[in-house]
Symmetry: C2
Subunit: 359 residues, 2 copies
């Protein structure tokens, strides 16, 4: 039983490993050879902070190809402050040292044994980026070279890394509301992705003539407008409501990450049901026409069970509507293989985690 620290996971989960781990597992999901317990959230009013909630979240997935089941959990203190005219979901770093709590646990499907525990932060970022990147690998035009990124936070960086790995990207243009943030992002990602990353002052300047638009914000409202669409564009997001319904309507092909449209929400008390995020996304009336049952998944696309782009002019969209436990099982299994080979992490006695009484 190995504990990997956050620093360990940063060293292990590079984008190449993450993309290689994930791609065949999407095909497995479409072929009934990998499966998930969908995400479920449990929200309880915070005892001390009005308008904040303790948000506990779990998702699990089994990947027989790697003999691995993963459970990913988050134990967050969340609130929804206004920022300009937008409401954002913000996780308060309430743990010691102003930190957050998210963990992945890996299990061996042959013996049931626990294999590893590690913080989810880097893996979370890389697997979301990789899903966007894989959507572009299968949907964007082959010669796509210009990437627009809307958002300059934690998730946005992984979109750049993933897209640079799957397409011959020569120019990245980033916009976010804060000049300071987007300029820092441009400097950092120029180094991290070894790409030409430029901060621009308006979202339109980022998306004009872009082959691929990656939205990666924590906004609960739209960050892109339908009249910015151009023939041949491929769009990805990390929350469906980043794109207005018209964008999906005008896309020639739309793919979702999972047909499980939204997390299950459970509450302590009734106040939770009125939270801003439950008024957005799938829950928003504007998206009610979006019939999930008829929308193919990224897994269908990668497995060759759904038709991808048919001409260079088509507009395609990928909605990263919800995460999947199988992503953590796939990436976790490959990370752990490397950690074991390189002796990374803290080994704990397996005895602590086993029992000789029938559970």
């Amino acid at each position: 039983m190995r504990i990997l620290t956050l620093a360990d996971t940063k060293a292990l989960a590079n984008m190449e490993l993450v993309l290689d781990a994930l791609e065949p597992v999407y095909a497995d999901m479409a072929n009934g050879a990998a499966g998930n317990i969908p995400r479920a959230d449990l929200l309880a009013p915070h005892a001390d902070c009005p308008e904040a909630f303790h948000a506990f979240k779990t998702m699990s997935g089994s990947v027989p190809r790697y003999g691995t089941t993963a459970l990913r959990l988050n134990s967050d203190v969340v609130h929804w402050p206004g920022m300009g005219d937008q409401v954002r979901r913000v996780k308060i770093p309430a743990a010691a040292g102003d930190r957050w709590v998210g963990l992945v646990l890996l299990f061996d499907m042959g013996t049931g044994e626990p294999r590893a525990i590690f913080p989810d932060g880097y893996v979370q970022r890389m697997r979301v980026g990789a899903a966007g990147g894989l959507s572009s690998k299968y949907l964007a035009n082959k010669d796509a070279s210009t990437l627009a990124v809307l958002g300059s936070g934690w998730q946005a960086g992984a979109q750049v890394l993933a897209h640079c790995a799957v397409r011959p990207i020569t120019a990245v243009r980033v916009w976010s509301p804060s000049r300071e943030n987007r300029e820092r992002f441009a400097r950092e990602l120029s180094v991290e992705a070894r790409a030409h990353v430029q901060a621009v002052d308006e979202p339109q300047a980022a998306v004009a003539d872009a082959d691929i638009v990656a939205c990666a914000t924590n906004a609960l409202a739209h960050v892109f407008q339908a009249d910015w669409l151009q023939p041949g564009m491929h769009l990805t997001n990390v929350r469906m409501q980043e794109l207005p319904p018209e964008v999906y309507a005008r896309s020639d092909r739309v793919f979702v990450h999972s047909a499980e449209g939204q997390p299950q929400h459970h509450f302590v008390g009734d106040e939770g049901a009125a939270l801003p995020e439950l008024q957005a996304g799938w829950f928003h009336p504007a998206y009610r026409d979006f019939d999930l049952a008829s929308v193919p998944t990224l897994a269908d696309l990668i497995a060759g069970k759904a038709t991808g782009r048919q001409s260079t002019d088509e507009i395609t969209s990928f909605v990263n509507n919800i995460g999947l436990g199988t992503q953590f099982a796939a990436v976790g299994a490959k990370m752990l293989e490397k950690a074991q080979a390189e002796g990374i992490g803290h080994e704990l006695p397996l005895d602590w985690f086993l029992q000789d009484v029938h559970p």
Copy 2:
């Protein structure tokens, strides 16, 4: 972050602590002051053992009263062998040293921080026993002194402990198919529960004139017959199908553990849907008339929101249809308090489980 071993949990989770921890939390659940993510199972065919599955199971619960959220998981290798004319769900001890894997993780609802990890075996047993015992505390006749136990396995012992704590039990009669098992059980529980426990050769000999009948088997078929019912009897079980539908129909009052009737089942591939346990219990056509929405819960009963026994002649039943994460949060919180006070367990660096990146 404290690791409690199985031996630690055995020392900490005595029946008195478990009953005291749980009782107010049932009332909280009925009053919207505690909540759950219901149990979900993910079944994948085992790579090496035909007819066995890797069964991964999670449930979570938040208990503001104790500031604690618990996640309970099981990573089992399960099969369904026939035994006589009955099919049983058997967990194969496939982990090192012929052991099983079940874990509880506790979190602080104020900070989100992880607080403890421990194997679930003893707590699992005690909280199931305590639920049966609490049903008897609120439903059995006050002077109930004779307890019949059907089953002599891991779960059956906790039923004896719990019932002896809530009623003036002077005689316990146990029956199970194996003479050797039931006689060992009688010897062991006589000591553990300081009660007069007698093994009998027929189930009828156990239940005749019993005030309380506790079924605690892993059978997927009935272990009690409706014509064994007697006025004033209270019945509990650990699986609804231990009692035939006629028993519920002839009970004056029936209570369930949770209105979430059955676990969510998810599968890798389609084979799982044909498993024996999915043909039993709530899934069995015989129980289809059992309208969960109209059946009050143990929480409703303890909160005083549902009417209990109205005369000494009424027959009452409690169906422990499904476990709840709140049980592990409640018992875990009280165990951890004691462990901290007494310095029990292994302390790990909290740093390993926190992150300074936004998850």
